[in-house]
């Protein structure tokens, strides 16, 4: 395999949108995908991520806007003239052709005479060399998925588009294929755009994730950045789990914003707040469940100073092996989630126990209180 050494931007979408009648699938959207990156479009079903991908592939005509591939405007080109290839959700392997011919399909269409070496190499890359003469329906789901990847990759596309390619696989195989795809991407150096609704999958594989919601990109960034500093409640809730606490802003003069939620004082570094905080107005303070430490109320004195602390009572404790997940009701907010690593388990931390929840203020994040606190959660799904 010869890696295509390109730098700069591979895919640039400018003001691209798609409407079906009165329904807007994708709102005008700008997006740049750097060359050689593994880019994920993440969102719940119906958020417009697949439509966006199909517009890049040319399978869907945008209502407005342009698609550029490596600086060339391809908006008006039919799919067969675009230097991109797609791995379809259902794989769409040709059932009348064997694996070898499926993989050779693109090369043959472009008039390549001797395909044998390339096909053999590609089947080797996806570890299917010995199944070349089988028909697609004789292969397992994971093998079919690899054929679909090989069939697309062999054409050395400028960009490889993956439309929920792992959706049909069981959990274990999916984990394995995630690593496999990441390995292949690193090996061939081609830009991958991966559409998925699985936030864990997006974070494991992608360098950059764009979180989409209702036809818009909510936030774009590296997985860790999105996770640690979500800018909307949707991102906070959709990417992992967040505890969101509505609080009144008391003081914004220092490095830390001081807030009050139900007689409990909280601090939040001003740099961790993406919304504008004004004294007297509300703000949402977010904190990830694993950032919170639980201490039994009897040991409250042992909690170090300078940490945000909330009191509450455990309502549920679920043991899941590596960690224990607690649900804590507090006057500040109901149903706070806390994940505690099972290192030294405190037997007193059982449902009904009075506890103190405390965390480093630097791990919190501030969000605009004007948005729905439930966006991106299962409960918020019905509302959006």
């Amino acid at each position: 395999m010869t890696a295509i050494a390109t730098t700069g931007t591979d895919v640039r979408l400018t003001g691209i949108s798609k409407t079906y009648g009165s329904f807007t699938a994708v709102h005008p959207l700008d997006l740049s995908v750097p060359a050689g990156s593994f880019f994920a479009l993440l969102g719940a079903s119906g958020c417009g991520k697949t439509t966006t991908l199909r517009m890049i592939a040319g399978l869907e005509d945008p209502t407005s806007g342009t698609v550029e591939l490596a600086g060339r405007d391809v908006t008006a080109l039919p799919p067969y003239k675009r230097p991109v290839n797609t791995v379809f959700q259902s794989y769409a392997l040709f059932p009348h052709l064997d694996i070898y011919e499926n993989v050779a399909f693109g090369l043959r269409r472009r008039g390549v005479k001797s395909v044998k070496k390339q096909v053999d190499d590609m089947l080797e890359l996806v570890q299917l060399g010995d199944l070349a003469r089988r028909k697609p329906q004789q292969l397992s789901g994971g093998q079919q998925q690899r054929v679909a990847v090989a069939r697309a990759l062999i054409n050395h596309p400028q960009v490889l588009l993956l439309d929920e390619p792992l959706g049909a696989l069981d959990l274990k195989l999916r984990r394995q294929m995630q690593l496999e795809l990441k390995r292949i991407q690193t090996e061939v150096g081609i830009t991958f755009i991966h559409v998925t609704h699985d936030q864990e999958e997006a974070m494991t594989m992608a360098d950059t994730v764009a979180v989409m919601n209702a036809g818009r990109v909510e936030q774009l960034g590296a997985p860790a950045e999105l996770y640690e500093t979500p800018r909307t409640t949707f991102v906070a809730n959709f990417l992992g789990t967040s505890n969101l606490i509505a609080a009144d802003v008391l003081d914004t003069s220092g490095d830390d914003i001081l807030l009050r939620a139900c007689d409990t004082k909280l601090a939040l570094p001003a740099t961790r707040c993406t919304a504008t905080a004004r004294t007297g107005e509300k703000l949402l303070v977010g904190i990830r469940p694993e950032k919170i430490t639980l201490t039994h109320a009897d040991d409250a004195a042992s909690v170090p100073d300078g940490r945000n602390r909330i009191t509450g009572r455990i309502t549920q404790a679920g043991f899941i092996g590596v960690s224990t997940q607690y649900l804590v009701d507090s006057p500040v907010a109901p149903g706070l989630s806390v994940y505690a690593q099972n290192i030294e388990r405190d037997a007193r931390l059982a449902p009904g126990a009075e506890v103190v929840l405390h965390w480093n203020p630097g791990h919190g994040f501030g969000l605009d209180a004007a948005q729905s606190i439930e966006a991106g959660t299962d409960a918020g799904e019905a509302g959006t």
Binding site: L59, Y80, F88, P95, H96, F105, R109, R151
Partner: protein, 311 residues
């Protein structure tokens, strides 16, 4: 006695275990019971007449004196020697009509399967609509349509096409009725739905995403058709051509009503041997030859098209 000791349990229970449950055995017989009516039907109305006909074909005699089985296989050679032109004509007409049905039916089936959208059901009803009228009536209607003063002749005449078709030998003396063209047209018309239905069924089953995948892999629309759509519709093509060719080869109504003595097909010969000449052995032998010929051609065709694993 209220003592609940285990000795009170029935000891026979384990001994019963190996014997198959009567319900399971009944279940095993279900397929045979379901097959029975069909097998009986075939025995009475297909196998028995076939045996009877086979014996007729090797009989000699006359209607007045009665027929005797004399194992006179020469009837076969005589019949073939005398009527081979009609055999060849039947195969030729049926093949032409089948090709025309495919040429007309494929685009229509394709349109209904992929482009018709909400008109799909209406178009399917229109395809089947001719079946609501009798085969005979429809063919008689064609007789009027193709007659000398009819719309087809005057249209072709004003386009000056008839001179050309005369020269090609498919029409004669600026007429359409009583020519090969009329018979082939009639066959094509009458068997077209038998082509469209299987074609539609196999086209409709093709996953639209395969077209997208082909386009994504640099296949132009025409290449996509050639490399993906058509190969995947082969089961429909094979079924459609068989359903058209087999009855068309044995048909005699079209040649009877739309042709003249020069367009007689083997069906017409068999009919007249049976009903007019009353030469039952020859008629039976001709039927067997036709059956064997079709069977051989169909076997060869299915082998060649290699669709066993696709169906």
């Amino acid at each position: 006695m209220t003592d609940p000791t285990p000795t009170g349990l029935p000891p026979a229970a384990p001994a019963l275990a190996p014997a198959p449950h009567p319900a399971a055995r009944r279940k095993k017989l279900v397929p045979y019971w379901l097959l029975l009516p069909g097998i009986l039907w075939l025995l009475v109305f297909f196998a028995a007449p076939l045996v009877y006909q086979a014996s007729t074909s090797v009989q000699t005699g006359s209607v007045e004196e009665g027929f005797q089985v004399t194992w006179h296989f020469a009837t076969y050679w005589d019949a073939l020697g005398e009527y081979y032109p009609q055999f060849l004509r039947s195969v030729g007409y049926a093949a032409t009509a089948t090709a025309l049905c495919l040429a007309l039916g494929y685009p229509l089936a394709y349109l209904i399967a992929f482009k018709a959208g909400r008109w799909r059901n209406l178009l399917m009803v229109l395809v089947i609509a001719p079946f609501f009228t009798s085969f005979l009536i429809r063919t008689l209607a064609w007789k009027t349509i193709l007659s000398d003063g009819g719309p087809v002749v005057s249209a072709l005449g004003s386009l000056h096409v008839l001179g050309l078709t005369d020269a090609l030998g498919v029409t004669e003396g600026h007429r359409v009725l009583a020519t090969p063209l009329a018979v082939v047209c009639g066959l094509t018309y009458n068997f077209l739905p038998f082509m469209i239905l299987p074609l539609y069924t196999s086209l409709e089953r093709i996953d639209g995403r395969l077209h997208e995948a082909a386009g994504d892999l640099y296949a132009r629309p025409l290449t996509t058709f050639r490399k993906v759509t058509f190969p995947l519709s082969m089961p429909g093509v094979v079924a459609g051509t068989l359903l058209t060719f087999i009855p068309a080869a044995g048909d005699y109504i079209n040649a009877e009503l739309l042709g003249s003595t020069d367009q007689k097909m083997i069906g017409n010969v068999i009919q007249s041997q049976f009903l007019r000449v009353l030469d039952y052995p020859t008629a039976a032998a001709l039927s067997f030859i036709l059956m064997a010929a079709i069977l051989a051609m169909v076997t060869l065709y299915i082998r060649k098209s290699g669709t066993e694993e696709l169906v």
